[in-house]
């Protein structure tokens, strides 16, 4: 790489020529303030102070963060943090930039802004860019060369984007990667089940009225009214920081509103005892690892359930087999040692096995490839057909297009749009 054998040369020598950007924006910011974070890599390479200052300013300008030098990194949005990470690796002018799914955590707007910056860097031709991605829409037009890898790690094809599309579209799609649509083809809309007719007449499963919420400081949500009925599939959308996760947690009784009321199945879910809440609401958090409560997969699924009840154990066994995590193979493993996709499926299990009337999911397709998403949609469609209401807070435009019967848009703590989409 850049004239070096990266393994033989060792980390520091490689780091001097290669810039790396990772998936998680927060996990790669080292310093407390924006300019210090950009300077960190320059300090490591022993740059003199004057050239550091000039380089910090120009790198921040290049990624569109000019003027935010003194801002605290924790105060930036996810999209800004990711562009800051890019500035940090670009400042030392590496010969090679390696980006590992850099837009996976960003809202669509942030992802597009990131791609636009990347396009400008590409146009300047100052560095070789290697972009690893399984959602290729934004990246495809940027590429000079595409290397498609199969699930076994072997190359499927290598060539210009057009050549690869022409030769290997089917093979790549079969491997679980999304490809840009063919010209004239709209977003794919698989045959989702129709909304059950009871939807509009029945009482709402959950109703939020004039809900406001604040953690410590200003209101994160202010004056939210929302009713969700059985059989609805609601996508809750909006930019990072618009209050999606907070609203999702309020509806499932995990937070108590600062003002207004939430009613779930006739009572205030935040005041229910945990055992009663678990029967009516299920919640799947964005980060699977952040929600595990037990040491083994078996205990994880059965936590809070009656493990001596044969009806329960049978249901759990069937569900886990359907999720591709059969208990005889996975039961004794630690949840933390599973792969990312397996962890995501495991994190769904406790909510699915209880068949709650309201199922809330926070970014359910995050880190999932095409196969994982399709499996998830099939399971959700099944729950909806049995009368559950599903609400998913998500950025994923593909998932919204194929899953949602209704899209609710939040901006700065208020609902700005609420419409049926089919």
């Amino acid at each position: 790489m850049a004239g070096l054998d990266p393994v033989a040369a060792g980390g520091p020598a490689v780091a001097a020529r290669v810039g790396l950007v990772f998936q998680d924006p927060e996990g790669q910011l080292v310093m407390d303030r924006v300019e210090d974070d950009v300077a960190f890599g320059l300090e490591s390479r022993g740059w003199p102070p004057e050239s550091m200052r000039a380089s910090v300013v120009s790198a921040l300008g290049e990624v569109g963060l000019g003027g935010l030098e003194r801002r605290r990194t924790a105060r930036l949005s996810g999209g800004q943090q990711q562009r800051l990470a890019l500035a940090g690796v670009m400042a030392p002018e590496p010969g090679v930039l390696v980006l590992d799914e850099p837009t996976a955590n960003l809202d669509p707007e942030g992802a597009r802004a990131f791609a636009a910056r990347l396009a400008r860097i590409r146009a300047a031709r100052t560095a070789t860019i290697v972009l690893v991605e399984h959602r290729v829409e934004e990246a495809w037009p940027l590429a000079d060369l595409v290397l498609a890898l199969g699930p076994d790690g072997r190359p499927i094809d290598l060539g210009t984007p057009d050549e690869v599309l022409a030769r290997s579209r089917e093979a790549i799609e079969a491997s679980g990667t999304w490809l840009p649509n063919r010209p004239g083809e709209g977003a794919s809309r698989p045959s989702a089940t129709a909304v059950p007719a009871l939807g509009l007449t029945a009482a709402p499963v959950v109703a939020a009225r004039r809900v406001r919420f604040a953690y410590d400081g200003p209101f994160v949500l202010d004056g939210v009214d929302l009713e969700i009925r059985a059989g609805e599939r609601v996508a809750l959308v909006g930019p990072n920081g618009s209050g999606k996760s907070t609203l999702a947690r309020l509806l499932a009784g995990l937070l108590r509103p600062t003002g207004g009321t939430v009613e779930l199945g006739g009572s205030d879910p935040s005041r229910l005892r945990a055992r009663d809440l678990a029967r009516v609401a299920g919640f799947v958090f964005q980060d699977p690892e952040a929600q595990f409560v037990a040491a083994t997969v078996h205990d994880e699924v059965l936590a809070g359930l009656d493990a001596d009840d044969p009806a329960v154990t049978t249901a759990v066994g069937e569900l886990m087999a359907r999720l591709g995590l059969p208990l005889d193979a996975f039961g004794d493993r630690s949840p933390y040692t599973l792969s990312g996709g397996e962890q995501r499926r495991l994190s769904l299990a406790p909510a699915l096995v209880r068949a709650p009337s309201l199922l809330v999911l926070d970014e359910p397709t995050f880190g999932q490839d095409r196969h994982g998403c399709e499996a998830l949609e099939a399971i959700l469609a099944d729950r909806v057909s049995r009368g559950a209401a599903v609400l998913a807070a998500t950025h994923d435009e593909r998932f919204i297009a194929s899953f949602a019967s209704r899209v609710v848009r939040l901006e700065r703590g208020r609902i700005v749009a609420d419409e049926a989409v089919r």
Binding site: G11, P12, A15, L20, D32, A39, P49, D276, A290, Q291
Partner: protein
């Protein structure tokens, strides 16, 4: 995202105390606390508390409200520690001591009350010094100062900064773990299992961060300095002032 972070105010950072070398402030804080160790008396603790608060409000330009908010959660701790020391002091069983009150089987003596109040006063002093230090010190500058003026190992200093920055993140994750238990119908409140979860998340975060630092060439050779921290006349003035307060505290205890 829930970001609950004790952020330092910009006006406090631009104040004389904010511009003082963080390393020097750390040394001063330690020196004052050592000065407290010389007696059980309440007066040295009062001198140090007053010294810290006065310096924080004037030289540090901390808003009084923020200073109060910083100290507030620890008042209860100070009172609790003081009361415990008062009620379970060995002086209570000494027949020679004057009894103030009899609470059931418990004798409360004058000596025990004085001892308890003295302990509580010292807890308050430690907290006041800590809060003033925290609210006038930029974490990045603290690390720069530790490395450049204190010759602290870089890996240690930057690691400490990263750990400090991870605190709000861990607090969020603890909240999520509690909610994850609640939605599963598990007993709410504290459970040892949560510690395991937090530990795993902290290690994962540490791994990622170490990788990010190495990817940016950390440890690949001698570092240059984006921000140079130098000793200044201000530091000498502050050191002299602090020495004065420490001397006063020791004298007050005689």
């Amino acid at each position: 995202m829930i970001v609950r972070r004790l952020e330092v105010e910009e006006r406090a950072l631009r104040s004389p105390l904010g511009r003082t070398s963080p390393l020097l402030k750390l040394v001063i804080a330690l020196a004052w606390l050592v000065a407290l160790a010389f007696s059980y008396d309440i007066r040295p603790a009062a001198v140090v508390t007053l010294g810290a608060v006065a310096a924080g409000l004037t030289l540090g330009r901390i808003t009084p409200g923020r200073l109060a908010a910083g100290v507030a959660p620890l008042w209860a701790v100070a009172v609790g520690i003081g009361l415990t020391n008062m009620l379970f002091s060995g002086a209570n069983t000494d027949a020679a001591n004057t009894v103030i009150a009899l609470i059931g089987p418990l004798r409360l003596t004058f000596a025990a009350v004085v001892g308890g109040v003295g302990v509580a006063a010292r807890v308050v002093a430690v907290v006041a010094v800590g809060v003033v230090f925290g609210q006038t010190t930029d974490p990045t500058r603290l690390v720069d100062s530790l490395v450049q003026q204190g010759r602290a190992p870089e890996r240690f200093a930057y690691g400490a900064l990263a750990a400090y920055q991870a605190i709000p993140r861990l607090a969020d994750q603890l909240g999520t773990l509690r909610q994850a238990r609640r939605i599963r119908g598990l007993r709410s409140g504290w459970h040892p299992r949560m510690l395991v979860g937090l530990l795993v998340l902290a290690i994962r975060h540490g791994d990622r961060l170490a990788l990010a630092m190495d990817a940016r060439g950390f440890g690949s050779g001698p570092r240059s300095r984006y921000r140079v921290v130098r000793w200044a006349r201000l530091d000498a003035v502050m050191a002299l002032g602090a020495l004065g307060v420490a001397a006063l505290a020791v004298l007050a205890g005689r």
